[in-house]
Amino acid sequence: MAIDTSKVATSNSSAATPAKPGRAGAVATWADERLGLAGMAKKNLRKVFPDHWSFMLGEIALWSFVVLLLSGVFLTLWFTPSMSEIHYEGSYDQMRGIAMSEAMASTLGISFDVRGGLLMRQMHHWAAMLFIASMMIHLLRVFFTGAHRKPRELNWVIGSLLLLLGTLEGFTGYSLPDDLLSGTGVRAADGFMKSIPVVGSYMSFFLFGGEFPGDSIIPRLYIIHVLLIPGLLLALIAAHMLLLVYHKHTQWPGPGRTEENVVGFPMLPVYAAKAGGFFFIVFGVTALMGGLMQINPIWLYGPYDPSKVTAGSQPDWYMGWPDGALRIMPGWETHLFGNFTIAWNVFLPIIVLPGLMFTILMLLPFLEAWITGDKREHHLLQRPRNAPTRTALMVALMTFYGLLWMAGGNDIIAIKLNSSINTITYMLRFLVFVGPIIAFVITRRWCISLQRHDNEKLLHGYETGIIMRSPEGGYSEKHLPINPSAAYVLSARERDEVYTVEQETDENGIPAPASRAKALRAKLSTLWFADNVQAPTAAEIEAAHHHADHEHELQAALDGHAADGHQFDGHHSVEGDPLRGSDQH
């Protein structure tokens, strides 16, 4: 790369001066003689990371996990995971003398008797929300831009597992303080388990160490929360990052960016600085949230009592959608041979449905690759509009999720809309089936019309907003060609290739009937790409531009002005350059 550094201040000079071996050098040599790090570092210190705002979403998840580790360890120093009953004697007046578990009492202790304790508790809870929310949005970004395609399918699977484990980690976490709200959640979880055919009551008795509530559940949830799941999360996050480095990050197509290269800033210094700085920002934002926004004020709920419940009990928001499914499920139950009971009303919405949704989520990349028959590697991202069926599929899933999430607040919605909860529930029962279909169709058509619009811009330029009157009196809007780099971005996309069954012939040269699976696949592939608009070929663009140039020339000759017209596109100064024709009328 030849850069004229003569006029450049010291800041941007990358001319390396050989370093004098100093103290740091001696340490590095010592370490390298034992660890041989230079070999690996050589490749990675200047590793290229492409830049785009949407690549930050995964980083938020990563950094909020670090905040969770740090604040969580702080909490363990005071939290007592025990269900032994004691009488609270801490600073919080209203609860003094009340019988509660040690878990609850120690959480009150963290909140009222440890300086900075409430801050850490609230930061921990806010960071948990941030962690799960950013994972979800990151997942959507990956899918909508096609970053889940080969070779990154396994990282998609790892990411899905992280989301599942993060959700479970959140649930075990907010169950720990043993307040009325969390105890209600744990009891519901007990009911969920009991609905599982054959083994349900055994699972419940084993988990609770006997009959609900017992005195084992908090210590057990505790070790799951601070050791088991964090360990798994850490291992999976490490694998996620290693694969990211191995595959190299995807990038948006653009001038100089191809499937074969990766363009961006080097790991050292710019990417490391930006990512490291971003860690402090995520950490700082969580600290502000913990300091200024109240969350989970357990002292207002009181200790858990199995005969009490708070009105309007609701789990943390990320548990809302299965809770909604549970709410709108009809009360079905089957009695088998008069001896056994299957509680479909619980088992289907809370055990089967989340399992099914999660399986679908994990299989999405494989499903898409099978339908499209695409076996190539993909490193350039796609705009959502350029994969209409994929985009529509995810929007349909999001609609399903969103409607169930709404159902999780059907009582609140009923009050807000001043409508009966029965009406809301019946409507949602219908909508969860119809809503996703409508969303699918609308999204798909929308994407396709956006594709068409892109092609218009490529072939005929953009709309200038200038209305012209032809000598014959007709009106038309003036279009101008878009700049070459924007045009390249629009045209730099693959043409869709529909999977077709290859005509196989047996040794006698007679065509073999295509297997059913292949035929199905070909049909699905056709539907997958149906009506998509393909990017124009270079020749088509050429022809369109040629046509436009020709028109300009003709007009220029007519009114004696420069035909270019770029000066009226809002990007140039037009002083002293009256609109064409204004001086004639």
Binding site: I3, V8, A9, S11, S13, R46, K47, V48, S91, F112, L119, Q122, P151, A188, K194, P197, V198, V199, G200, Y202, L207, P213, G214, K248, P255, G256, T258, E259, V263, G264, F265, P266, V270, A273, K274, G277, F278, F279, F280, G284, V285, M289, G290, G291, L292, S307, V309, A311, S313, L326, G331, H335, N339, T341, V346, R376, I421, P484, S485, A538
Partner: protein
Amino acid sequence: MSGHSDNLPVADDGNPGLPEHTWRPTDVDPKAEKRAERQVAALFGLSAVCAVLFVVAYFSLQVGDNHDTVLGLGASNVALGSALGGALLFIGIGIIQWARKLMADHEISELRHPAASSDEDRAATVAALQAGLEESGIGRRPLVRNSMLGAIGLLGAPVVVLLRDLGPTNAQVADAATGQGLEHTVWKQGVRIVRDVVGTPIRPSDIEIGDLFNAEPATIFETDEDGEPLIEGVPLQVAKSKGAVVLIRMDPADNTPGRGRKNWSVDGILCYSKICTHVGCPISLNERKTHHLLCPCHQSTFDLADAGRVIFGPAARALPQLPIAVDSEGYLVAQSDFTEPVGPSYWERDY
């Protein structure tokens, strides 16, 4: 640009290449550069100030019961959070500003390689693997291989049985006398129905038509001669989690007793389990006029004037009813335990 590959975008041939690098003001104007440098250092300075403020707030502001003095939160919490937030944010913003304004900003490009290993590597790996397997003789000695696989597989058995003592099963704890197990509660003949929290017994005349009482079995309040509770700890929690009931009084003409339940009530007073048959929330919301009881968790609604039938929501089973009577002293008591399990359904439930 290298040759054409079908993996490249169609317009690749027209790829204009990386746009030329443009210099930032801080690259070409020493004044701008100095300004940026001072800006970044000032941000780091602000962070240091916040860190000091954090320490000051830690020692000067009390925690304790004054937890809602500022913004509905304790002064200490607000001060510590803001100071820590500032200390961290200013470092973050400072570093990013440094990267954006002062660090070299030419984008560089790196070639990608297919994720797959090269054919030679694959062949070498397969060869090495085959040599290893060949030398182990695992293919030639099925007896050794199969007995080893069998032995390792059977190691699963110790793992599984080791977890067996996680807890007793329902069948093991079931005991009608102490009310343990999913089929029983502490209710039995003659157990008084008492007010929850205070534990005082209830006469029929205490309840007016339309009233709903939250009640418990007297068992959980009983004490021995020294005043020590008879049940406490886990058994108490278990007893509460299944024994909680509601008492409701309605005009007897409004009530449609279930089959065989004609004499389960006393003067229009009925007693139902408070534990929702859906997934077990305690139910609490009463609609006075309609005798409907609503569960706050998922809005199952039960008609207490119709044997606890489900009239709305995801619950599948009616609320269990407790048959009640009046004892010799005129207090409400149970005639027996519930005649069916309370709470959510489970597989072994046989009716």
